[in-house]
């Protein structure tokens, strides 16, 4: 008998005329205003199972997961000043995957839901609009979906495997507001970043290349540099870009890598809404004397150390919160905010070359693990950040993913060859868009 965990319902959901609603968190406010077909602000989590997915069971599992996590059972509505989330009474939709990943989720074609569950052969995907939650919150909901699906598929096998009868406590609070500091002053000196150059893939196609890396061997390599896995992979990424796109196009602007940070590591929070910040590593290759990998990894380690202190993280977070909390910004009508944000965002986006997000280990309980091969995370590329990178770990596999709209995969290839040359086992999976090159890799 599988016992389901009890759930503490969201606290911040307001109730007016029986329709529950809640404000968007501070980070989420910007997404509906800046999102469109080109900038989807969608990320995807996938799990590759050992058996073919049963869509009927998957749908039942989704309904069950939604009952426990009502925070996801919402639709976006426009108010006079801000967008907000309202309880969605419609049924969710699941369908077989037939499009490119991380595409814009059209709420009208999705019963208003801000996430979309799809499946393909052995794989289950969830595409999530960032206004709903961040990678951490998405991971929590996705794991619940996977757990429930596996329990429904294998009721006998998982009979003994009882998930801990603990309360899943979560809130929908805006942890930014709760934790930011009004007093902190920040001097933002933002220089435009180097933009990856090259021909784009035609007709809105997205290439995805997954590099499935042996974690144990990777860790051995990391230890040689006294670096964490994230630091090491960030340095490899920097090395790959520098030796391909940057040098070939005689880049002059700094190469900036944006690394999202889970704020729950720094501040107490049980929110499933967005609660992340970011650090930006700006590599000026000549000024910083960065020409080989050893120098690059030392640079990355130093930057991580300096920027990932509580004080620095608080600074970045507070400056962003203050902007969203500004009285004069608050009173601008939404239609005007939409226009202003879209214009402003055109400039803001130019301040990073590439994003690399590592959501870390996806912990799955005991007997459930035998049904799972690995997990994948993907982030939507856009016309400015033409490649985005992400990774997640399951057991001894870390899957590093490139999602790209560039019509060549030199960066991906150099990244792969670098790891292989270090004696780390890497296998490739792709969606075939740039398959002629990835086949050569294989």
């Amino acid at each position: 008998m599988v016992t389901y965990n009890t759930v503490l319902r969201g606290e911040n959901m307001k109730n007016s005329n029986n329709i529950k609603w809640r404000k968007l968190d501070n980070s989420a406010k910007i997404f509906p205003m800046s999102t469109g077909q080109k900038y989807s602000s969608v990320f995807r989590l996938s799990v590759v199972l050992n058996n073919k997915v049963n869509p009927k069971i998957l749908y039942e599992a989704l309904l069950s997961a939604l009952e426990k996590y009502e925070i996801f059972k919402v639709r976006m509505k426009a108010g006079l000043f801000w967008y907000y989330l309202e309880e969605n009474t419609k049924a969710p939709i699941i369908e077989e995957e037939n499009e490119y990943p991380c595409k814009y989720i059209n709420p009208k074609a999705n019963n208003g839901y801000l996430f979309k569950v799809t499946y393909f052969k052995n794989k289950i995907n969830i595409d999530i609009f960032h206004a709903l939650t961040d990678g951490n919150g998405g991971n929590v909901f996705f794991r619940e979906l996977v757990y429930t699906y596996l329990e429904m598929c294998h009721p006998r096998d998982l009979k003994q495997e009882i998930r801990r009868p603990r309360k899943i406590e979560y809130t929908e609070e805006d942890s930014y507001i709760k934790n930011y500091s009004k007093k902190i002053k920040t001097k933002s000196k933002n220089e435009r970043a180097y933009e990856l150059k090259g021909k784009k893939i035609r007709l809105g196609a997205i290439s995805t290349i997954h590099q499935i890396i042996d974690l144990e061997k990777l860790k051995i390599e990391c230890s040689k540099y006294d670096a964490t896995v994230t630091q090491y992979l960030t340095a490899v990424l920097m090395y790959a870009i520098y030796n391909t796109n940057y040098t070939e196009n005689k880049g002059k602007k700094p190469l900036k890598i944006c690394v999202p940070v889970n704020l729950k590591k720094y501040f107490p929070s049980k929110t499933l809404s967005n609660f992340f910040s970011y650090i930006i590593l700006a590599a000026k290759f000549k000024n910083n004397n960065l020409s080989n990998f050893d120098e690059m990894i030392e640079f990355v380690k130093k930057e991580f150390k300096e920027r990932l202190t509580e004080e620095e993280v608080l600074k970045v977070m507070s400056s962003n919160v203050k902007l969203g909390n500004n009285f004069f910004i608050k009173i601008i009508p939404l239609f005007l905010k939409n226009i202003l944000v879209r214009i402003g965002y055109l400039e803001i986006r130019k301040h990073s070359t590439i994003t690399y997000s590592n959501i870390g280990r996806i912990g799955i309980l005991g007997d459930y693990q035998k049904y799972i091969k690995y997990f994948i995370m993907l982030i939507a590329p856009d016309p400015v950040e033409k490649i985005k990178c992400s990774s997640c770990t399951f057991e001894n596999k870390i899957v590093f993913t490139f999602t790209s709209i560039l019509n060549d995969n030199k960066i991906e290839r150099v990244f792969y060859e670098f790891l292989i040359n270090k004696g780390i086992d890497v296998t490739i999976e792709s969606n075939g868009v740039l398959d002629d090159i990835s086949r050569k890799i294989k």
């Binding site: 996938s46 077989e96 196609a205 740039l434």
Partner: protein, 187 residues
């Protein structure tokens, strides 16, 4: 394989280039026919506008991930209805059925053919829409048989393209089309 099969970027490039070249050749051929047959009526200009219009719709739909075939069908019906209405309001001269509608149908047929070829291994997705457009393509013949209009040169080209389209589709996906027809039209 953990993703549905998608067209390789190089193949997409090649196909797009072929279709762009075909569109240009078609436009030039139509201008030539226009010059040689009815130089007083510049209908080739309208056909070429139609080709540009369909390209715009096609790219817009693909990028926005909408049901392109449904979009095309809707456009064909709406544009044709408007043209016939305008014609009737101007005194039923007959230009809508002898010139405008065949052009619309011709361009729609070519678009459906492109979609069928581009949507790799997913011909079936567009089959039913293609069949409806095909049936619509033969509608001007009814007016010809009823002697309401004469069969224009454009009408002939339009019907020829429809038949060619049908042959290619049948060759590509006969089994799939019959299954789709059975499924959609079952009583």
């Amino acid at each position: 394989m953990i993703y549905p099969e998608k067209l390789n970027s190089k193949k997409t490039e090649k196909l797009l280039n072929i279709f762009i070249a075909s569109s240009i050749i078609l436009a030039l051929v139509l201008v030539l026919i226009n010059r040689l047959t009815t130089p007083d009526i510049p209908w080739a200009a309208i056909t070429n506008c139609g080709i540009i219009y369909i390209w715009a719709i096609l790219i817009f739909s693909i990028k926005r991930n909408t049901n392109i075939a449904g979009h095309v069908l809707l456009q064909v019906i709406a544009v044709s209805a408007i043209l016939v209405y305008i014609d009737s309001r101007l005194g039923s001269i007959g230009w809508s059925m002898s010139i405008a509608v065949p052009i619309v149908l011709m361009v729609a047929n070519i678009t459906m053919l492109i979609l069928t070829l581009v949507s790799y291994k997913k011909y079936i997705k567009y089959a039913i829409y293609q069949l409806i457009i095909l049936i619509l393509s033969f509608l001007p013949l009814v007016f010809v048989l009823e002697k309401i209009i004469e069969l224009s040169i454009l009408g002939k080209i339009s019907i020829a393209i429809s038949i060619l389209n049908l042959i290619i589709t049948v060759i590509l996906c006969f089994k799939d089309v019959t299954e789709a027809v059975k499924r959609k039209l079952h009583m």
